[in-house]
C-alpha cells in the first residue's frame, strides 16, 4: 500500500477504521434486535421495589398479556381457548413448572386472574409476575440483593 512506501513512517498507527465499522454495525444490529425481541407484543409491566432477580434462560416460557387482553405465548399471538392445551403440552414432564407472566399494568386484575386460573389447570404451579424495578429503589429482601437465583 501507499503508506508503507512513504518515507519517514509517518503513519505507523494501526488502521482502526474497519474495526470501527464492525462495531458500528454491531451497535446498529443490537439497536434493531432489542425491539425485535418483543416484536408484536408490547406491555408495560408494573413497577415494584421488592422483586426477585430472575435472569432469562433459554427454557423460560413467557405468557404475555397486552393492554387489550390478548395472550402471547412466547411472543406468538394465541387464542385464549388454546392457552390451557398449550401450557399442558409445554409443561408436560417438566419438574419445574414456572410460567413467566408479563402483563400490562393497567389491565383489570380479573383478566389476569382468569389467565392464571387457566394456566393452573394446564399444570403450572408458580407464576412469576414480571415487574420492573422502580428506578432508584432497592429490594428490602436480602436474598434479592445478592445477585443470585436463590431465595425461594
Amino acid at each position: 500500500m501507499g503508506m508503507s512506501l512513504s518515507s519517514g513512517a509517518v503513519n505507523a498507527s494501526p488502521n482502526v477504521t474497519p474495526m470501527i465499522d464492525v462495531m458500528l454495525v454491531l451497535l446498529i444490529i443490537f439497536m434493531i434486535t432489542i425491539p425485535q425481541l418483543n416484536a408484536g407484543f408490547t406491555a408495560t409491566p408494573p413497577q415494584g421495589q421488592n422483586l426477585k432477580p430472575s435472569p432469562e434462560e433459554d427454557t423460560d416460557q413467557v405468557l404475555g398479556i397486552d393492554a387489550s387482553g390478548q395472550y402471547w405465548f412466547n411472543k406468538a399471538l394465541i387464542r385464549p381457548e388454546d392457552l390451557e392445551q398449550l401450557t399442558r403440552n409445554t409443561f408436560e414432564g417438566r419438574d419445574e413448572s414456572i410460567l413467566y407472566i408479563k402483563a400490562h399494568k393497567d389491565l383489570s386484575y380479573d383478566k389476569v386472574l382468569k389467565a392464571l386460573d387457566v394456566i393452573a389447570l394446564g399444570g403450572v404451579r408458580v407464576a412469576a409476575l414480571i415487574s420492573d424495578q422502580t428506578p432508584g429503589t432497592e429490594s428490602l429482601v436480602e436474598s434479592d440483593r445478592m445477585f443470585t437465583k436463590g431465595g425461594s
Binding site: P14, M19, N50, K52, P55, D117, V126
Partner: protein, 139 residues
Amino acid sequence: MGMSAEGGQGGGHSNEINVTPMIDVLLVLLIIFMMIIPMSRKAIDATLPDPNPQVQTANSANDQIVLSVLADGKYKINQDEVDRAGLFAKLRSVYDPRPDKIIFVKGDSTVTYGDVVYAMDQARGAGVKVIGITPGPKE
C-alpha cells in the same frame, strides 16, 4: 514499540487522534450491555391455586392471612382495612412475629393488575416468602 520510535524520528508527524482507548472503552460497554440485558429481568413468584383442591381440612384456614385488594386504593388484611400508604407498616407488624411467611392475595374485580402487584411487592418487602393467589370465581 517500533512505531513510536519511528514516529519520533519523523518529527511529530503522527497528529492523528489515538482512538484505541476509546475503542477499548466502547467494547467493554458493549459487552456489559450484552450481559445486563438478559440478566436484569425481575419478577415476583406467586403460587397458583390448586385446580383440583382436596377437601379443605378444618384447621388449615384458621391463621391464614388474606390480603384483599379493594377498589379505590384500599387494602384489607383479613378484616383490618388499611390504605395504600399504611399497608407496608401494617404488613410488617403482622409478619415480624409470625414464623410462617405465607400470604394469600385476593383482588377485587375492579382493581388493576398493577394494584395487586403493588400489594404483593409490599408483602415481599415485609418478609413474606410465599405468595399465594386465590382462585377467581368459578364460571
